[in-house]
């Protein structure tokens, strides 16, 4: 393999990483579990690591020894180092930190950061120039921190040398870790303490055969297994060597590490490792890809429209019901507005009456109980204030609760329509925040103004009709006063009736009063701005206004949710495509013939 294609794929991997990492860190519109996000971060780290290694001049191979405490990982490394590493005590667990065994010519900077921090032991063995052996702490002792340390360096491994002993080759603790990593990394196996595996008269399966059988079940067609007695090889003591049992394979392991793993093989292992990484990433990405929800968004929009329409109708009912008790006030206001107030005697009379009713009425209007500052008291002349005090009651009693529960209704609608509701309710809530009591006050006062304009505006026939009444109101009281006075005076002078002087003074005003009362009542009853005419106009105006408010607030949301999800989906698709592209490249350049046995199928 030439260097150039490696550079190209390294570039691809970097690009993939630069896209994957920011995406995995940003907030998502689709529920992704924390452990999945953590996986993405790990994969991104791995991509960078692999890209870095690929561009190196000469590929180096990291072989990590993994296994339970006491199986002889340290002995194995020591035997490979020909006894140059200080021996540990016999108490368990022995190795506390990972130990990196590397050639003296190998630059530390080239090591993965996770390995740079470990204890380094330098050697001069020519066959291991580009092979880095790492001894790790155990994975099964009571010191649980050891397992964490192992897992910190394990991602740097190109090959994991899974070391087992007669007791532990089948242990769950190691097996689980093996299963977790077998898709990703090359595995070779060592069955240490081989001498203990051959008991006479044994009825069971011999451990190596037992292990091979299980490995085959896990997809290793021809697993690479070395049966060793590592401790005998530490000092290469001839006496101990002589007692080695049959089938001991430490020399084979040593020569595999020294000569077997050629540059080509190392490259192949690396490439294969990348392929496995990409495959895992691909699978993971597929699980977090949101579905296409355009159709569901359309459906949601339609359902929401109906829900909102129904809700608005109910809310208008409520609003109008809160105005209805004060309909007479409104009617009177409209009557007053028809023209200038009465003049002369009638003017005084109307003012006194109005004062009385106004005082009485203001106490009957719904009182403002909240802390919302209200600039003016509800005056019938002040439509906005009137709308405010009516709305306040309706809002406190009904509208606030209804709008709040509308959020839930809409979420339920969306769920029914198949639109993913992840974080949707927050959006709806935020949007509906803009609809407050003031919104209803404005809507109602505008509706009332509108009704007023259309029913009793300056151009309406009522105006002309009312002007007639005012003229009558000016003339009639004086007329009656005068006529009664003259009649009484005439009667007194003519003597046809006994008229006391008090009668002469009291009766004419009384008669005028009676006339004014009659006039007033007639005026009020005949100027025909009734609630029955007012309400439908108000309703229509309110419907238009509230509909606009709600639609502006909510209309865009389903589509927005769909767009955000589509966005997420697009990015994931891009990542998937890129991953597939890299995989394809890797597949084309894989040279598997030599290394297939190190991998599970």
């Amino acid at each position: 393999m030439s260097q150039a294609p490696f550079d190209a794929v390294a570039q691809h991997l970097r690009e993939l990483e630069s896209q994957l990492r920011p995406w995995s860190l940003r907030p998502h519109r689709w529920p992704i579990r924390p452990e999945q996000l953590e996986q993405f971060t790990k994969h991104a780290d791995d991509l960078l690591r692999q890209a870095k290694e690929l561009t190196a001049q000469r590929p180096a191979l990291v072989v990590i020894l993994m296994g339970g405490t006491g199986v002889g990982k340290s002995s194995l490394l020591n035997a490979l180092a020909q006894g140059t590493i200080a021996e540990a005590a016999f108490t368990r667990p022995t190795t506390r930190e990972p130990i990196v065994y590397l050639h003296e010519a190998f630059e530390v900077q080239r090591l993965d950061p996770a390995l740079q921090q470990c204890r380094l032991i330098r050697h001069r063995q020519p066959g291991l120039e580009y092979k880095i052996l790492v001894d790790t702490p155990d994975l099964d002792s009571n010191e649980t921190i050891h397992r964490d340390r192992l897992e910190a360096v394990l991602p740097t491994a190109d090959i994991v040398l899974y070391v087992g002993s007669q007791e532990k080759y089948h242990d769950q603790a190691g097996w689980e870790l093996f299963l977790k990593h077998k898709e990703r990394r090359a595995f070779a196996f060592v069955l240490n303490k081989w001498d203990r595996c051959q008991a006479a008269h044994a009825t069971g399966v011999r451990p190596d055969e037992d292990l091979l059988r299980d490995l085959k079940a896990e997809g290793f067609t021809d697993p690479l297994l070395f049966r060793t007695c590592a401790h005998a090889w530490i000092h290469r003591d001839p006496a101990a060597m002589a007692q080695l049992p049959e089938g001991e394979q430490f020399p084979a392991l040593e020569s595999w590490l020294h000569q077997g793993l050629t540059k080509r093989e190392i490259e192949a292992i690396r490439t294969k490792g990348i392929g496995q990484l990409l495959h895992q990433l691909h699978t993971l990405l597929q699980t977090v890809q949101p579905p296409d929800v355009q159709a569901a968004a359309k459906k949601t929009e339609a359902v929401w429209k109906i829900t909102v329409q129904n809700e608005i109708n109910t809310q208008i009912d409520t609003l109008l019901a809160s105005v209805a008790p004060h309909q007479k006030t409104l009617q009177r206001r409209f009557a007053n507005n028809l023209t200038h107030p009465f003049r002369g005697l009638m003017g005084w009379y109307a003012r006194i009456l109005d004062f009385g009713r106004h005082g009485w009425l203001s106490s009957k209007l719904p009182q403002l109980k909240t802390t919302t500052p209200v600039e003016t008291d509800p005056q019938p002349s002040d439509l906005k204030g009137f709308a405010r005090s009516c709305t306040h009651e309706a809002y406190q009693r009904r509208l606030a609760a209804r709008t709040e529960s509308l959020v839930d209704r809409l979420v339920a609608n969306a769920d029914d329509a198949g639109l993913p509701t992840y974080r949707l309710s927050e959006d709806i809530q935020a949007q509906l925040k803009s609809i407050t009591e003031a919104t209803y006050v404005d809507a109602l006062s505008r509706a009332l103004t509108h009704a007023e304009q259309s029913l009793a505006g300056p151009t309406s026939w009522r105006q002309r009709y009312a002007r007639l009444w005012v003229t009558l109101g000016y003339i009639i009281p004086y007329g009656v006063l005068l006529i009664v006075f003259i009649w009484q005076l005439y009667a007194k002078i003519a003597g046809s009736m006994s008229v006391a002087i008090t009668d002469l003074l009291i009766l004419p005003p009384l008669a005028a009063l009676l006339a004014m009362t009659l006039l007033y009542v007639l005026y009020r009853t005949t100027v025909p701005v009734t609630w029955g005419k007012l309400a439908p106009i108000c309703r229509q105006q309110l419907a238009t206004e509230l509909h606009t408010r709600f639609q502006t607030a909510l209309q865009a949301l389903p589509q927005q949710q769909a767009t955000l999800l589509a966005d997420e989906r697009r990015i994931v698709t891009q990542l998937l495509d890129r991953t597939a592209e890299c995989s394809l490249w890797i597949q084309q350049h894989e040279e598997l013939s030599q290394v297939a046995i190190l991998y599970a199928r």
Partner: protein
């Protein structure tokens, strides 16, 4: 002490815990709870219940327990004195418990089905790698010396391991045997003695109150003392219940001769192993009593741990219930706000009219009344002039429907925000999605109908009571009528006297005064009716809570249970277990007192 039969309680508890274990087994996140649950069930089934049954003679059980390849079978052979158990280099060869009992022991017959829970006994020796829920009994000739006599009275169990990954499906057999055992011989090799999972087992065993003799194997003879010391200090001392480890002994790497002839060449080693076991075997009664007592205490102490898997799902249900609770408050609040405060109860208006009618004079007096009625005309005009029109309020059913729908929607919205992998939320989610909440709506409809009927009845009764009291009491009624009439008559007379024969003034003032007195009476009547109305409002709210809000929230609380079949049983277990365990403990204590 509970009146229920303690033996029955023990068996029931064992069944509950086994059910809980299966439940935890189906859920990956609860797998950690399996072993403690199985151990507790086994203790109840295999030790506590037989103890309470007071079986006349029972052997003591010694269980040899340890990780794969640690030399459990070798230890068994040393106890027996000859090679009776297969030693095998294959890790995890032994797949079911093997009982070794001395030839001619009186207890052979007792080793039958039922002593190890669901494990069946198989007659005669068979290979110990038979991978089924069984146990086998091997009668062996014990190599006997003076100090092995107590062992002859005991049953020695060679157990499967717990460390291999295959052990996942057979470690329950090991746990059954631990539950049965009176003494545990914990075997660990030089490789394994500080391993996490076997140590966890040791801790379970110690927590369950079993006396433990620990045996370290395979080390070089020179390493014996330092290794035992390290084991005691860094492994055993870390377990809070370590006091029950009565001895730690060593069985160093064996020569072939020692292995082949434990009673001869290996005799010194054998002696050191048997001695600490004998210490317990020599006082069988006390060992048994103490062991059962500690088991009962363990169960009571660790009930929260045992219930943890049950609580895992119930926690979600508790969350649901808290939402139902807040939802109920909103529901009540909305009803009160949207309906009740605005409701004037037409019955009461009718009652008011009726009350006023009652106060009019009967009989001949009715002509007077009619005249008065005519006189009061201005009052009626003024009143109707000022009368506020009634607004058309939202009907009650509509308010109720909206409230209930809002309640359900809120619950649904909360559920949608939860983790969709959790089984409870998953089930609720799909139930909502498949509109299985329709049945709740149906129940709601029937409840509404009932409620409306009841409340109509009750307001009508209250309203009618306003005038019925007076109707039944003619004296009071007549007194009131008299007072009213006297006031009217007096004021009218007053007017006539004051105004004299002045026609105009009379015509003006008499209706005015008549109206005033009527207004006064009506105001008084109205005050009374309004207080009654307020009372009716309060009582209707109460009725609403009783007949609607409470039953509905109860139904909503039950709903997850009806969707997820396990929930009721989980809840039942969580409720029952603490009481049952306390009862069991006192039963065991009193049995132990009788025994000693």
């Amino acid at each position: 002490m509970s009146s229920a039969n303690p033996i029955h309680i023990a068996r029931q508890l064992a069944a509950d815990l086994t059910w809980l274990e299966q439940y935890a087994g189906e859920r990956a996140e609860l797998h950690g709870a399996i072993v403690p649950l199985r151990l507790s069930a086994a203790l109840l089934r295999n030790q506590v219940a037989p103890y309470l049954e007071k079986r006349p003679t029972q052997p003591l059980y010694v269980a040899v327990v340890g990780g794969a390849g640690t030399g459990k079978s070798t230890v068994v052979n040393f106890l027996i004195g000859r090679s009776a158990a297969e030693t095998n280099p294959q890790a995890g060869f032994t797949r079911h418990p093997v009982a070794f009992v001395a030839v001619g022991s009186p207890y052979v017959d007792q080793l039958s089905d039922g002593i190890l829970g669901p494990l069946k006994s198989i007659p005669g020796p068979c290979p110990s790698d038979r991978d089924e829920d069984v146990f086998q009994i091997r009668q062996v000739a014990l190599v006997s010396e003076a100090d092995t006599e107590p062992l002859r009275q005991a049953v020695i169990w060679d157990c499967p391991d717990m460390t291999t990954w295959k052990a996942n499906h057979y470690q329950t057999r090991l746990v059954e045997t631990i539950g049965l055992a009176d003494i545990i011989l914990y075997v660990a090799s030089d490789e394994r003695y500080n391993d996490a999972w076997p140590t966890q087992y040791l801790q379970y065993i110690l927590q369950a109150g079993k006396p433990v003799v620990a045996c370290l194997t395979k080390m070089q003879p020179s390493q014996v003392e330092p290794m035992l010391k390290h084991f005691r200090e860094s492994v055993i001392a870390r377990i809070p219940e370590c006091a029950a480890v009565s001895a730690t002994v060593a069985l160093p790497a064996l020569t072939a001769a020692e292995q082949a002839d434990p009673a001869g060449v290996g005799a010194p080693l054998r002696k050191s192993l048997i001695e600490p076991v004998n210490w317990w075997l020599k006082q069988p009664q006390k060992t048994r009593h103490d062991s059962v007592l500690r088991a009962a205490r363990f169960l009571e102490q660790f009930q929260q741990t045992l219930l943890a898997p049950a609580r895992h799902d119930l926690a979600a249900v508790a969350m649901w219930e808290s939402w139902v609770h807040t939802g109920r408050h909103t529901f009540v609040h909305r009803y009160q706000n949207e309906y009740l405060t605005g409701e004037s109860f037409p019955h009461f208006n009718a009652a008011m009219l009726r009350l006023m009618e009652l106060l009019e004079l009967p009989g001949v007096g009715q002509y007077v009344s009619k005249a008065m009625h005519l006189l009061r005309s201005p009052y009626r005009w003024v009143k109707s002039w000022f009368k506020k029109p009634n607004s058309k309020d939202m009907p009650e059913t509509q308010v109720l429907q909206a409230g209930f729908q809002g309640w359900l929607d809120h619950l649904r919205q909360q559920v949608l925000q939860q983790d969709d992998q959790h089984p409870v939320w998953k089930a609720l989610r799909s139930a909502f999605h498949e509109q299985r909440d329709r049945q709740l709506h149906e129940q709601f409809q029937t409840r509404i109908a009932e409620f409306m009927q009841q409340q109509a009845l009750s307001t009508e009764t209250t309203a009618r009571a306003i005038y019925q009291e007076l109707e039944k009491n003619p004296t009071a009624l007549n007194t009131l009528r008299g007072i009213k009439f006297s006031i009217e008559a007096a004021s009218l007379t007053g007017v006539v006297i004051t105004a004299g024969t002045h026609l105009f003034l009379d015509a003006l003032l008499i209706p005015l005064v008549a109206s005033l007195t009527q207004g006064l009476t009506e105001a008084m009547g109205k005050t009374y009716v309004d207080t009654q109305r307020e009372k009716a409002r309060t009582s209707q709210l109460k009725l609403f809570e009783q007949k609607l809000a409470m039953p509905l929230s109860h139904e909503l609380n039950q709903w997850p249970g009806s969707l997820i079949p396990n929930l009721p049983k989980l809840r039942d277990i969580v409720d029952r277990l603490p009481k049952d365990l306390a009862a069991l403990k006192s039963a065991v204590e009193s049995t132990a007192r009788e025994g000693t």
